[in-house]
Each structure stands twice: as C-alpha cells, then as structure tokens.
Symmetry: D2
Amino acid sequence: MRIGISTGGGDCPGLNAVIRAVVRAAARFSDCEVIGIQDGLEGLIRGDGLTTLTLASVSDVLARGGTILGTTNRGNPFRYAVRTEAGVVERDVSDEVIANARAAGLDVVIFVGGDGTQDIAARLGAKGLRVIGVPKTIDNDLLATDVTFGFDTAVGVATEALDRLRTTAESHDRTMLLEVMGRHAGWIAVQAGLAGGADVIVIPEIPYNVAAIHACLEARRRSGHHFHLIVVSEGAMPDGGSVSLVAEQTAGKVARLGGAAERLLDSLMQFGEYEARVTVLGHLQRGGTPTPCDRVLGTRFGVHALELARAGASGRMVCLRGTHVTDVPIEDAVGRQRTVEPEGELVRTARAIGVCMGD
Amino acid sequence: MRIGISTGGGDCPGLNAVIRAVVRAAARFSDCEVIGIQDGLEGLIRGDGLTTLTLASVSDVLARGGTILGTTNRGNPFRYAVRTEAGVVERDVSDEVIANARAAGLDVVIFVGGDGTQDIAARLGAKGLRVIGVPKTIDNDLLATDVTFGFDTAVGVATEALDRLRTTAESHDRTMLLEVMGRHAGWIAVQAGLAGGADVIVIPEIPYNVAAIHACLEARRRSGHHFHLIVVSEGAMPDGGSVSLVAEQTAGKVARLGGAAERLLDSLMQFGEYEARVTVLGHLQRGGTPTPCDRVLGTRFGVHALELARAGASGRMVCLRGTHVTDVPIEDAVGRQRTVEPEGELVRTARAIGVCMGD
Amino acid sequence: MRIGISTGGGDCPGLNAVIRAVVRAAARFSDCEVIGIQDGLEGLIRGDGLTTLTLASVSDVLARGGTILGTTNRGNPFRYAVRTEAGVVERDVSDEVIANARAAGLDVVIFVGGDGTQDIAARLGAKGLRVIGVPKTIDNDLLATDVTFGFDTAVGVATEALDRLRTTAESHDRTMLLEVMGRHAGWIAVQAGLAGGADVIVIPEIPYNVAAIHACLEARRRSGHHFHLIVVSEGAMPDGGSVSLVAEQTAGKVARLGGAAERLLDSLMQFGEYEARVTVLGHLQRGGTPTPCDRVLGTRFGVHALELARAGASGRMVCLRGTHVTDVPIEDAVGRQRTVEPEGELVRTARAIGVCMGD
Amino acid sequence: MRIGISTGGGDCPGLNAVIRAVVRAAARFSDCEVIGIQDGLEGLIRGDGLTTLTLASVSDVLARGGTILGTTNRGNPFRYAVRTEAGVVERDVSDEVIANARAAGLDVVIFVGGDGTQDIAARLGAKGLRVIGVPKTIDNDLLATDVTFGFDTAVGVATEALDRLRTTAESHDRTMLLEVMGRHAGWIAVQAGLAGGADVIVIPEIPYNVAAIHACLEARRRSGHHFHLIVVSEGAMPDGGSVSLVAEQTAGKVARLGGAAERLLDSLMQFGEYEARVTVLGHLQRGGTPTPCDRVLGTRFGVHALELARAGASGRMVCLRGTHVTDVPIEDAVGRQRTVEPEGELVRTARAIGVCMGD
C-alpha cells in the first residue's frame, strides 16, 4: 500500500507532527509505504516531486515549525496557473494529477490543509482518487473540528506580544494596538485578548463602533488607567462599513501585512488625542516551534489519518470533537467558516470581565 | 451580596486568572462584593484572614503563577490539626467555619481546588453553607471536567525539559529519564511524552514490565539509535509490584520529590548496561507564568462561578465539556480520579507511532 | 540623605532592576531615603510627582519590563513644551527643576536613560545639581559603556522572530525580511542576524548596494537555497542615497514604525522576482520580561549608582568595561553614538561565515 | 589543508555554533576541508570515526543544543580505558591518536572542550600535533577567557526555574531550594540568584554557616516575608566542613545528581522548622536551544579558531577578553579554575541588595 501525503496552503506549526505520525504509524506495517508530495500538489502536478518518507526522514522534526514537504498557496489543480506565450492562463490539470498519482502507485492521498485544500481533496475524491483530509488552519475557522493544530501556537505568540506591549503601555501611558490573524474569524484575537488582558478586542464577527471604543477608553481613563491594550483581528471592520479585505499585496509585489489596526486608530483619532502605537504581528504567528498541544494534536490527527487510509476509507476528514479524534465527510468542512459566536460563551466571558468587544 | 473565594491544595498556574475573573465579573454589579479568604480556609478558620478584593487587587495578576490568596495543603476543617498540650490532635472545626462565614456575611463561598477541596466544599454544602466549586489540578485527574487549568502549563514545562534532555541524550548516547507529576494518572506523562518525542512513557494506569522496556530499548539500539528518552509518572509502578507511594517526606522534614524514575532505572540495570541520568522535574511543573490556554480557561471558570453564585446556585462545580463551560454537582468530581484509559485513543496513538508504554 | 531617581526616554527591560537595586542598596543605611520621580522629569517639573520608594515598592519588579516610575520621550527641561494661549512654546524650566529638587530635599538625582537623558543630567549637573547617570539604550549605541541592559532582551526577541520566520521561509521558498531597531547603530541587527542565521544583514554603518544583495541571493539560489532571511536595521540606507530618517509619525498622529525593510524590498524587486514578506518588529523589542543578563546588569548598575551617590560623587555615569562595572564622566557618553565598526571583528565574523553585509 | 574538529567533555549549548562557524568559514577557501571527529577523540582513537563536514552538514544546527559530532566524558588518550582479559586497564594511546591524525591527513585539530580537553590538546600539541583550543564550560570556570558559550543558557534555565519556584514559595509560604551546577565555581548560582531575586546564594567559594543562613531567614520572617528562595551550587560546602564531592554515581550505576541542597536543608532543620522543598536542576541546565548570546559567541570563537588554523598557529586557545575575541596559550587555561571572587564586585553587589551569601 502506497500512501501519498501533501501539505497545502500557508505553513502552520504542527504540520511536521502530522507527517511524522503518518510515517511512524505506517512503519509498523511492512506493506505500507508513505510517499511525500513536494510543495502542495506541485510535486504531483509536475510528476517529479515524490519521495519515499522513512523513519529517518521524520527524525527530529516534531519540534520544528513549517513543513518538510514544502507548501504553497498556489497550485489548485482545478485552476492551475500555466505560463503560455499568451501569458499566464489557468487550466484544469486535475486529470493529470490523478493520472500521476496512479502512475506513482498511490492508493490514497492524505491532504493536510485548510478549507481550500480540503475542497480540492473533495473534488479530486469525486473524480475517483481516494483521499483523506487532515484539517489545518491557524485561524481555527474550519468547520467540523473543534480546534486545529497551529492555533495554540499562534495564540501563544500573540499573548506573548501582549505581555510585552503591556509594559511599554504602562510605562508610557500609551494605547498599544496589536493586529493579529483572522480574516473571517476572531478566534486568535479573543483567546489572546483574554489571555493577555486586553481592554478592547475587535473581531470580524462584531462590527466595531469607534465611538463606543472611545467611550470605553475614556471610562478607563476616568478610573485612573492611562494605558490601553487593543487587539484587532485583521478582518475587523467598522459597523455599517464595507471595508473590502483586499490584500495589500499586488501581483508580483509584496508589502507587509496589516491595515485593520491602523484603520481603527485613524478613526479613533477623530474622537480624541491618543498617544498610540500599532504592531502588526503577521508572519510571527505562523512560524516556529509548535506548542506541546499542537504537537500532540498533529500526532493524533496523523495517526488517525493513517488508520483511515489503511481501512480503505475515502472522502473523510480527521477532526477533534470534544476530547476525541474522529472523522467526518470532507464536505462538512468546506465552504463556510467556523466563526466566533457574538452571543456565545467566549464573548460573554470577555464582556463579563469588562472587555469592550468593539460595540 | 458577599461572595467568598478560597484557593486550596497545591498551587497551580491559572488560580489568579480565576480570582481575577470573579472579581472583575462581580464589579459590574454594585451590590456584589468579593471577599478573599487567606491560605485555603485558614483565613476563615482563624476568622481574621478575610479581605475585600477590588479591581486593584487583581490588577496585573493574570500572568502570574500561584495564588494571591495563598494556599495550603493542610486546613481540612473536618480534620483540622490543632496543637494542644497533649500534642497535635485533629478536630472538626467545620461548624466554626460556617459560623465565621456567616458572621462575615458571606452569602456563598467559591472553592477553587482539587478533589480534596471539592470534597470539603461538598460537605460544607451539606451542612448548609452555599458553595460553588471550581476544579483545579495540575495532574488533570479530576472527574467531571475534560481538563483543568494548570495542566497545559505543566505539560509545557515537561515538554521543554524533554527538548533539553534530548540534545544531551543524542550528544552522549545516553538514556535520559524524566520523572513528571501524576500519582494516580499519567496525563502529564502521556501528553509531554508525545509532545517531546519520548521513546518510552510509563504511567500509573499501565504497570510496567522492565524486561519489555529493556527489549524496546535494545530494538532501538539495533536500529542504530543509541540514546533514549523515558518519561515516568511519579505514580508508575512495576507489573505485579506493590510499590507504596509513600511520600519521601517525613513529618516535619522535607526531602526532594521523586523516586519512580530511579526505581525504574535500578530495575533496568539488571538487564543491561545503561549510561543513564534521572531528572525529577518536581515543583518546576506547578509554578510560573500560566500558558495562554490556562489563563483563558481560568478566566472562563471564574466568570461561570460568579454567574452561578449570582444565580443562587449551590453545590455545583464549574467544568469544561468539549468546548463549553458548564457545571455539574460537586459530588461528581469527588472520590475517584479521572485516569488515562489504557486502551483509549491517546495510548493507542502513542503505541501507533512506536512509543513503548512500559508493557 | 535623600536620593532622587528618574527614568527617561523609551522604556527598556532592566529599568526596574536598576530602581530595585538602588532602593535595596539604600535600605541598608538608616540615613538614606530614595525618592522616585514620576514620568521622566515630569514629576519634578510639576513638583508633585515624587514618592518615597520602600522595599515594598520594589518587591516583585525584577522580572517586569518597563519602569514603575513611568517614563516619557518628552520632558527635556531645557526645552520644555508648555501650552500657552499662543500655542505650544518651548521654555527652559531647568531652574525650576533644580529648585524643586532642592525643595524636596534631594541631595542627588540618579538619571537612568539614554544619551538624551544623560545630556540633560550633565547640563543640570553643570548648573549645580548633584547628578549620577545610569546608561540605558536598547540599541546599545551609547558611548562609554561596553553594553547596556535591555540590549540582550531585544536581541532575544529579534532572534526568536528569525527562528519563527525561518520555518515559513523554508516551507514556502520565500524571502523574509525582518526590520529591527537601530537608527544609528546596527548592534541588534548584527547580533540577532548572527544568532538567527540570517543570510543578509543590513546596518546603518554600511550603506547597502541592492545589486550586491541581489547577487548574493542569486548565488544562494544557484547553490540550491530558495529561501532567504534578511535582517534590516531601521536606520539602513542605500549606498549613495540620502534617505532621511523621518519618523512616519506626524504630530498628534501615530502610525506604525518601519519602512527600511520595505524600501529595501522595493529596490530588490527591480532586480528580480521575489516572493517576499516584511515583518517590522517594532515595540515587541522593548517590552516584556528582561533576560537574566539584563536583570543582573541593571542590578549591578543600580548598586554602583547608589555607591556613587553615597560617596558624594557627581557628574559620573555608571558603565561596564569588560567584566567590571565602573564609572566615567557623563560627558563621555553624550553627543555621539557607539556604532558597529564596519571592519571590526563582529562584521568580519559575519562575512567569514558567508553573511552578506549588504555591500 | 585538512582541519580536524572534536568536541569533548559534557555537552553544552553553542557547540554546534562553533562547528558551523568553522565549516562555513572554511568553505570560503577551496583548499580547506573540515573533518569532524566523532565522540570526542573516540573517532580518532578508533580511526574510523572521521567524516567530512560540508555546508549541508551544518545546515540548521545553529539553534540546536548538544553537538552533532557527539561527545563523551571518557576518552582521554593519555589514560584510555581498554577492556582486556585482565579487566579494564588504562593505556596511553596518544601516539596512535597522532598517527591516526597524520594518516587522515589532518594538518591541525581544533579541540572544543573544557579544561580536561584543553589539557589533552596541550599535551598532544607538545608531542607534535598542531592543535587549536576553543574553550567550553557551562560552569564558566575556565581561566583565560572572560566567559564561554553555554553559560548564558544555563543561567537562563536556572533563572526561569527560580521564577517558577517563586510563585509556589509565595503561595505556600515555603522555602524553596534550587541546586544548580558549579562544582568549583559559583558563577551560575550568583548570576541566576541575582537574576531570579534569590534571598540566599551559596557558592563553593564561600563556605556556608548554617546558623547565619537561618538568622537571615528569621530576619526576613520578622519583616513579614514567609517564603524564601535559596540557590545552592552543587559544590557548596559548610564552613569548616570537609564534604567530599563524591559523585553519587557508582561505577556502572547512575543515580540522579545533587545533594548539596539537601545537605544544607538537613542542617537548617536543626535550627528551626522549615516548610521546604528541594529542586535539583541537573541536566536541564546543559541541554536545549542556546540563547542568542551563546550562538553568537560560539560563532565568533569558531571563526577565530579557523583563522588561527589557517594562519599556521598551534597551542593557542581562543578566548574572549572584554568585548574582543582573541587567543592565549592553551596552557593558560589549564590546571586551575576561574572562581567567583569572594570580595569581588558580583558578590558585593549581591550583599548590597541584601542577599545572604551563606556566611
């Protein structure tokens, strides 16, 4: 049995734990071989990016961030960018992918990735390839699983940033804004905000009202607190506004991330004088050593994926429900995001301890 | 409404997050006052250890380990040690406790502690005191909640220790044993062992067989690995053995913790030559800054406890079920430990990736 | 004897260690009182921001970033901004400062701060106030001392950032640029760059040549490395260029820091296609728990400052020379920056291991 | 030119930085090859443990603890343990070592190690082998260099331990003792003790007086502090005592480290009641990721060693003096330890802020 494995989308702490677990779990079976596909599906599209993964390949990778297989945000085989004389055009190369997988003798392919990757997996599954999904998203916004690896590490980085910014805020009587990941869901902002003692947490799910935020900070000042910590999801937007979440990156040219926190600060300035500073955490949230929690979750997911592959399953995605690892149809994870409930327990907890949720 | 709060048993990262959340959540209500009881129930037994907790009291405590209220492993009011002329005798001072609580105008008392503390709370509740429980255990062995704060921090410390020991093990071709907390349950050992890439994990739930462990390490050597990482729960014991878990501490005199890893190593030595070293993590696991995860969980528990108190509940213990904070009768958490299932998913995951579970 | 102490300029990990050491060292002498001046010299200018510092005041501050006295980047008494009907005007309030210090019975004032603060101290000293300086600069660019506290912490934060960015760079075959502090001196960039294994380090002392950097990265690509780590000091500028280091902050309005890395990337883009990302570390470098090294150095500086104060010295600044704490005339530290020698051992070391220094 | 490199003695964070720097610095010269000697000198004694180190060999090792070459505490070629029919006997195999080095074409060998290793290097140098020394000692007790890599990491681990123990000490009103490395010199104890805010620091250089320590703790109690942090060097001994520093390890059998802190606590118990706990940090101090400081110092040492090797030097050891890397005769580093001066600035600083130095 030959099992392919591919990591797609943005890198994420815990990916190597998944790969390692799949390889180690397969190593118990003499008839089981794991084939690593390089750079998302590139290795399969090009056909030459396949390598056998041995125990030695995954030695010493558990504590390393990123993915030893490489990954890419491009490479959707249904809309694959090809350079032609007429310029770059998109082609559907999914048949080649499936043909290449068969030519390589792959019985099944494990797709580790976010909802984009899972969508690709589901569609390749529908065309006859045996596929297993393993969810991955730092933002924690994937449906059908309670949590994914990478999220805990990201929250850890964001919380440490808040701990650092707090001392400067206190010493200088400043307002410090921290922009964290979360285009559609405010999970990192809420968790890190609660953990780091933020005064204001602004998330995409709750459009913000600048006047309300200003009033909250004024109330803090009146009670003797002259510094403020504000956490802003990158997808935060004002109430009634229609901020388009255009990436600041133009084609072929890359700028730094961020913008939401600056927009919020600009608006705040209309209401009063703020000695304020903005920090955009950006890529620091997704790299580096995974937390123990993420290493364990990645390992559990990897073992379960291998078991599904061995059992002949297809179209299933591994997931965590409560304290148990189980699996669901891949389709359940695709198409929508799992967002923070504006009236749910987390937000109520934040409000209960006096955090302004931006509204 | 006057709400008492007490922290009992060993200290634990996240206790201050609970206290802070209770105080901040109460601050929204003008009729609500929170009274901190010093040093477990000592403050109430002596009657003079009560202080009003204000927002200022809990400023800047979120990221601090330990408990600002103080705690103690002594002070069970049903068996309270009193020095008399005839020596130390145990008395039931529970009536005084209740009387003192009433004299202090406490409408309800929140007990943050492990199963010993929850048992006391339940019994005081049965005698008429309104009580709310908040579970606390680094070992994660409390029934009725999926997880408690403090556990994630302890796993983090243990995993970092494994990461450190690994480099020495590799460089010196050594066997490194790490003894971690867990008298009755191997949660820390399993989680940290998985996160830190341990080769052998020995837990109380699975009596160990030294010959099997030796065979596992020999097999590793034959495949070219001359170093080994072994994680041992303090409550680990050999198959068929009857190791009494006597604390090494004699009355009035305190030695360092540990013993399980040394016992295991002594036994291993009978089977072969080991260049080995033992590290006992001990108190390093329970102190220091809580992880973001533990800060958030403590905050959620504190808010829910305050809501229960406000709602007039009694005899309920806050708990986490899946992703939700809810509550159960305190009695559900008392009397037994939540242990690692020897055939459960965690252990199967460990075995699947080639970890020797000691048997 | 009454000893005033003030912290000026940007906050810095280790300031509290200095304050604590001064207070604890003074506590041995019954005739010695330490008076904390709030918010730089504001407390003395306003005359009402003075508090007696006791052992309790400095309990538990050793591991905390920032300064318990508060600080400000404003407040130069020789050019003090005062709001008048005619707008904001600058006044020389140094006589008031000295008069207020005398009225408060201060025999000597310890100034903890960077070269701006030391300049103020020297000038107040010249006008008759007894002054002692303690150097402080995260950038490590102060003359007359080998190193200052805060620098080690900043290098730690920057190195951890590189460790994190590396995994993303590797996984995605990307060029990651990290902008770190250092307007006039590249100490943080060089140390963190060496510690974090950067491929290119760009510092103010060595104007950069974009073509040379591009050539270096191309050479890496040809040898099979498709990712690059570049560290850029905020004061980096192109060879022959005249980039004015205008803060992006306009009066009364504050933007996020940075710009040097983006400028460099823009220039690089002219030479080839770069899949690149910029991270600006900004305020994360100056907050948070000081490293042990910075806590110890702050403590040693504080004790020496107190000894100087007790001994009747004035106009002296504490400093580190080799492994010894000693002192020099304050004037020695003022007016110029201590910069990285372009031909010195550090830069030669970097070049020797193949780091491109931008030229 | 073929340059051998060997790491000897206990492992130490920063060794890989040295190896990497030597290899990368050599890679600039087409005529220069670096040969790694496995497991101290074992690779050379056996003659088969030599491998060419390439840029790929040292890729990704900068942030890793331990040594990729392996090391051993055995393997002194002048007293090499050989198993014979008559049992284990010690032989002088230094001639074989030199012959093997010549047979392998090594022009010079770089010895990275502590004073034992430097002594071996000096003696092999005297017999005609070209040798260069690079100092290594976590304890920081090597003569002829101001500091060595590994020390900063060890101080970091010990300080973090104190930060953790402090919260438990405070919460439980306990006395926590931490035993750290340092058989002959108290550098780690003093630096970590100062950084972690210890109340008592006991080092080998200052024999301790239990009555004085007890009196110090009693004085703390009287001023309202009911918890104490005590740092104890493993080589600490009582005044007038003659504690032989026998390793607790007997031949072929290995126990855990420690003993000094327990001995101190036992003695303290005679003077009063102590609710106390002992933690022995042991191997946690020497493993794991090196701090940025240690990575940079290792890199600088490695580059300088390669330069010495290229320049035809022999018998020189790299060292740090003030802020500069330079070199001295190897003999200068051998035979004695660099210890903490009992009347020096560090100890005076500790005393000045009220730390009891055990006497």
